[in-house]
């Protein structure tokens, strides 16, 4: 399978990945070790969807559309609770090498990861017998796709009006040469000795998902988790601001319409 892939796809970029990602406490893109990339979040970007969100974390660009809650298909067994079905797709131009046809193992893993992160946040009892379909499209995979996708998907669920216990914020941490890097890019996570992705409900600090890769000692893991939780706290304010802006804009528009209707 791997041989087949090499034979069929042509590498996008000819240059190698950089060998050194940290120099004197400064990263390749000029960030400090504990600095987030530039974050852009916006909801309501897909008009046909019940809810949608677009997230840009540096070079990672993710678009999420939520459809539903709508009637579950017949073959799905009866359930008192609702369901959230997540489908993550990496665009063929999103990664360094062109994606293969069909769903790759990476996409399956991302779908399962995002689903686990979201299920704990949504009040599934509020839409029994129905299912909400979440479609995530990664337009550019610049690092930390799982975290960005989970955050954006939670915002899209909130935009769709699905009852949530809380929003989900997620971020990744990489350990390169003993240094902990917050929100790594693909170049940085390529050189990592250990990495983790943490998704949590910010108000109650409840962890909905924790994925760790590579080798972590006990103390390193503790430090990594603390850094990730700090990162999530930063991200929470950005996510809430995004939701607030959307809600305030909608409320202002509604009041304007009411005034016009009365006039």
């Amino acid at each position: 399978m791997a041989g087949q892939r090499e034979a069929q796809s042509v590498p996008w970029f000819a240059d190698e990945r950089p060998a050194e990602v940290i120099a004197d406490g400064v990263r390749l893109d000029g960030r400090s070790l504990e600095e987030f990339r530039n974050v852009f979040l916006k909801t309501g970007v897909i008009s046909q969807a019940s809810g949608s969100a677009y997230a840009e974390f540096g070079h990672t660009k993710v678009m999420v559309g939520v459809y539903g809650p709508r009637q579950s298909e017949r073959r799905v067994e009866y359930s008192e609770q609702g369901r959230i079905n997540v489908d993550v797709k990496l665009a063929s131009f999103a990664t360094r090498q062109r994606g293969i046809f069909g769903q790759s193992p990476e996409e399956r893993e991302l779908s399962a990861g995002v689903q686990a992160a979201l299920e704990a946040a949504a009040d599934l009892a509020s839409f029994p017998k129905a299912s909400a379909d979440v479609y995530v499209l990664v337009l550019e995979a610049g690092g930390g796709e799982l975290g960005v996708a989970a955050t954006a998907a939670a915002l899209a669920l909130a935009d769709a009006g699905i009852e949530l216990f809380d929003i989900v914020v997620a971020c990744s941490v990489s350990r390169v040469d003993g240094c902990l890097l917050l929100d790594p890019s693909t170049d940085e996570s390529f050189r990592e000795q250990g990495g983790l992705v943490l998704a949590l409900l910010p108000t109650s600090n409840e962890v909905t998902q924790l994925v760790s890769r590579g080798r972590w000692s006990g103390s390193q893991l503790r430090e990594g988790l603390e850094l990730a939780m700090g990162g999530c706290a930063q991200l929470e304010s950005a996510a809430r601001q995004c939701l607030k802006d959307a809600v305030v804009a909608a409320a202002a528009k509604q009041r304007q319409q009411q005034q016009q209707a009365q006039a």
């Binding site: 709508r70 009040d123 909130a158 009006g161 910010p202 939701l243 959307a246 909608a250």
Partner: protein
């Protein structure tokens, strides 16, 4: 109870409490309409934009027993927290979060335009753009009941998958299932036309949901679920509409889409102003 048909009442004013009995719900809804003029939506004190909350925002720091928890709220460690983005509404002791743009929430008395998606032995399942499919039982389908008395009823001879119908919401069960009823199942099938899908919040329950254009012979049905059907008036489903009728239908549909695009409430009067 014709509370919903009064003009000017927002569909979300029909409030459903979580715990009280049906009697309390009816009393509450009637009381809500009386109170409507006196009370306004109140939000959190000291908030810039009054009453707007997001998921996870605290509405009431100390929610004691006197606070009735409505839709869109959660109880977390003694305080009332919003589980939806929207505007906080307080009606006496009831606190709820009204979503600014949510899915269609059916209520008794709403007129909806739906499409048959499944034919079962004694009922049809109708897609009304809500969370789950609505049910149109044979027993409530008017004229078909008389046929049933003669013997086995062929459901498909009345309505099949893909047919559009205009129906009224008869009941909303506790599990959210919507039950519809029509005066006559065969007559409720809508003739050729087009359906415009707009946000359900723009179509409020009103006195008249049907508008006729006598000059061109077309009709529009304003479904509270955001589906507006516009088509020929009174023709059989097999009749081919003439070119003038098609033009009139398209004109009316464009008018509805334009109004919805600017967020204007869709009423027969509003469309009439644009398409006389």
């Amino acid at each position: 109870m014709h509370v919903d048909h009064r003009r000017g009442i927002h569909s979300s004013a029909t409030v459903r409490c979580r715990s009280p009995s049906t009697l309390a719900t009816i009393t509450h809804s009637a009381a809500v309409c009386r109170m409507e003029s006196k009370y306004q939506a109140l939000g959190r004190p000291g908030e810039g934009t009054v009453g707007v909350v997001c998921v996870g925002d605290v509405i009431e720091p100390q929610a004691n027993d006197s606070v009735l928890r409505g839709h869109g709220t959660l109880l977390r460690s003694g305080s009332l927290v919003a589980s939806r983005c929207g505007r906080v509404q307080r009606w006496n002791q009831l606190v709820l979060v009204e979503p600014l743009a949510g899915a269609y929430a059916a209520a008794v008395g709403h007129v909806v335009v739906g499409r048959i998606v499944q034919v079962e032995a004694t009922r049809w399942l109708v897609d009304i753009h809500a969370t789950t499919l609505a049910v149109l039982p044979l027993s409530t389908a008017g004229g078909a009941v008389r046929k049933a008395a003669e013997g086995a009823v062929d459901m498909r001879s009345i309505l099949v998958e893909g047919d559009l119908i205009a129906a009224e919401v008869q009941a909303v069960r506790s599990d959210g299932q919507v039950q519809l009823h029509v005066r006559d199942a065969v007559a409720s099938k809508l003739p050729p036309g087009t359906v415009v899908d707009i946000p359900a919040a723009l179509v409020r329950p009103q006195r008249k949901h049907v508008h006729h254009w006598a000059a061109t012979g077309i009709k529009a049905v304003f479904g509270c679920n955001g589906a507006i059907w516009i088509g020929v008036d009174g023709g059989s489903s097999a009749a081919v509409p003439g070119i003038e009728q098609v033009q009139a239908v398209v004109q009316a549909a464009t008018a509805v889409r334009a109004l919805a695009g600017v967020g204007q409430a869709i009423t027969p009067a509003a469309v009439e102003r644009m398409v006389p």
